[in-house]
Homo-oligomer: 190 residues x 6
């Protein structure tokens, strides 16, 4: 019912349980591409798995604890952004993203993340927002830099994938930094 | 984060758990006005009650079973519309509304209900949508007529309020009727 | 442990979880006959399904919200009646029935429904009791008429079965109507 | 809805959640009399406590694990019998009772227990039924003897009451013993 | 992390969820040997079953209601002792044991049970501890005697195994008896 | 039942639900001293609060997800160490501590943390263990240094206390670092 326009005929919408079939088909296109870079439980193999992911986030969203938002490009679900964690009582959240290959290179994720941060800082009064990525995920680190985030630390060998271990970067942006970063003519958050 | 413009500087947004304080204050203004016309558990007396209502609907929404949407007028929560019931497997849903006095007479509820029906019929493929109201609630019946609904029946003395009993009307509109009713230039549902 | 005599050597008893095997065997005889006329989740295919139905009703009965009562004819479970819904706080309930072919035509269902209505109105002080059936289910509508019910409305195309849609009738009887309808020499409800 | 006649214008019925007010009032009359002889959680002080007891047993009954049955004398709830435990998989159950003073001395409990045992052994195929009582509860031990039970053991100092400890007797009757004990003209169990 | 030395290079430790694989392998060695003498749900066939047992006890232990403790002999899990039941509010508990054949005859179970009883009586202030065993389980009855327990009763034919029924003995020791039984130089319980 | 000796007549034991009264009394002595340095939900005001903390950790421990261990000095509970998080599937855990003033300066926490790390790395095969503390908590940072941990990052202004915000340090030690750090004659972990 609700939708926000992104560039290139793309749209951002809440990704909900009833999208399960669409999400499963999208996962078929995205799976191998995103598997090294996202959390282990996020990549699923079938409709039941897709439904489980959507339900898990829906339940956390109902408790104001997380949130999943899909990106549709030309009417096709191609990825999304999320609040991996959202803790209003401490004023901290963590955002993230995933995208299938065909939709890369258009800045959709960066633009969608800005929507999340505008809402987190502007509407919800959060104090800081984090971004976690594998240290060798250049593309992801570039997004966090474009969002004005600062590298705050490196969790050594904390990311386990396919039998080997990788460092995890923690980036973050504070509310007062976000207000400086945002162009003055930005759409006011709702 | 998401919002749809209604007329008169009003907006429709998902009404969520984190709105509890705003919802409780709104309920203070709406309580006596809406009490005779809404379900008994909908009217609450304090912040805990407001939170309980929002949580109950959030959990049902997480399971694709209901949904609560607030109407903000000039930035103030003044009422809303809802899927009191939403059953995708049978293709039937029930919509409803509530409004505080100051926001009446502007057609906000009718416009917001159209958004719900566009989504239910256009996006979700529902087959029918119901509207339940006390038989002596002229204002509510008028909304259902404006939505192109047909009076399908009257549940005699099924509405208990303040020691007396009232009839309840059941109105409904079918998907094919909705497609005829809607102006052809309407914004395509998302 | 408890049992009420119906005519023709039939008996009405609470239908409980421990009847699961008997209920599954009965369902084998009743399945194709009742499938078009009962709720989609009521018809099950095996013992696990039968157990799930009995457990679901048992849990609702524990909370005073529904109830399942079997009809045994010559010691064989042949069908039953139920409170599909029972809401003491609003004073409304809905009753229903199902029967395998061999037990039809004896008036067992009508007699069993009278037991439920005597209890609902006489013992529990309910205000109204509903009966829902497909509009083309002549046999079911005839039961509701025999129970003194009034047709209150028709939910158009709300009953989905096997790819097509049917109207659903809503019948109801009020407490004061029931007291007039019942013969004065009826056994007092317990 | 269901009822079994006992002697002296008394009746045995399932004791359910909706009896909470009646049960609370009965508990006011029975409390001090039964407190030394029943389980600690069975005696409650108000309507919420009564409701909690009834709900707890209702939930166990829904899972075929226990059961509460009230005795009404001249239309007044005066006590009851129960399956304190019912385990169909092992074939063992435990029965018990409680009664307010005014209803004592009529054999109501013994008669009601016979109903439970007929059902447990005759209908449900249980193998044994136990009876637990404080060793100094002569009245209770007399019931178990009348039921044809054998004293199987004494749990020393296992009953804690009001700061002191008492022995607990375990009585039991086996299915084959029950069939011998019952008079041949007994009503067949249902 | 925690461990208590028993004789013969054996150790007693909490048996927890993360031991599931080790427990499943041990069950492969113990299964046929212990099946006649332990509760029906304790013997499992695979890793999932082992995990279910450990989880069930872990949840009861979290609520102070039971406890599972493994015996490791030369670093191999060979059996254990348990609080089959632990009810601090009534001051009663029940202990038990199981052992694979290779570890029998060393007194490990008796020694481990003494640890449980020292803790139950000395640290937790329990009043009595029970021991249940099949009446024809000479080995088990011998343990209860070595622990200074008294035979309090025999539940006739209450133990169902492989189509036949056996008597169950109830043994128990009271706190004051335990203090007499224990040698004065025993390690003080912690 | 289980206990590990620390220096100065101190002992480390699982801190469980049944310690609630002792934990509440300890919290009375520790509250104001630890409040600025521990998580907001850890400091409680009464017995119910103490019980809630112990139950929450007990349930997570039952699922192998966390763990609470008390330090008793001369028989008095004076503080403890914990797995604030324990995720065997990713090989990462987080440890922490708290202590009332009278027990400081003896190295008890460092010694107790070594027990946790020996178990995490040696017994459970974890890959890394973290330590989180307010950046101005010199005493806590000193413990992490003594444990051979490396400062991996600083979460800016992520610690909210009493209306102001503080940075949070993340320290960590890897399994291979721990093996080098530990003296070769250390007691083998169990």
């Amino acid at each position: 019912m609700f939708s926000l326009p992104l560039r290139d005929n793309a749209q951002l919408r809440p990704l909900e349980l009833w999208h399960a079939e669409e999400f499963a088909v999208h996962m078929d296109r995205a799976r191998e591409h995103i598997r090294p870079w996202v959390g282990r439980t996020f990549v699923t193999d079938d409709l039941d798995g897709a439904r489980a992911t959507l339900r898990r986030y829906a339940e956390r969203r109902a408790a104001d604890g997380a949130g999943l938002y899909g990106i549709w490009l030309d009417g096709v679900l191609v990825g999304g952004v999320l609040f991996a964690d959202f803790d209003a009582s401490s004023g901290s959240c963590e955002i993230g993203c995933w995208l299938e290959p065909a939709a890369e290179g258009r800045g959709l994720v960066t633009q969608a993340c800005r929507v999340l941060l505008d809402w987190a800082f502007g509407t919800r009064g959060m104090h800081r927002a984090e971004w976690h990525c594998r240290a060798d995920n250049k593309r992801s680190a570039a997004v966090s830099e474009r969002l004005g985030m600062t590298l705050e630390g490196v969790r050594r060998e904390s990311w386990s994938y396919d039998g080997s271990r990788h460092d995890t970067q923690i980036w973050a942006v504070l509310a007062r930094e976000w207000r400086i970063t945002r162009p003055s003519d930005a759409v006011p958050p709702v």
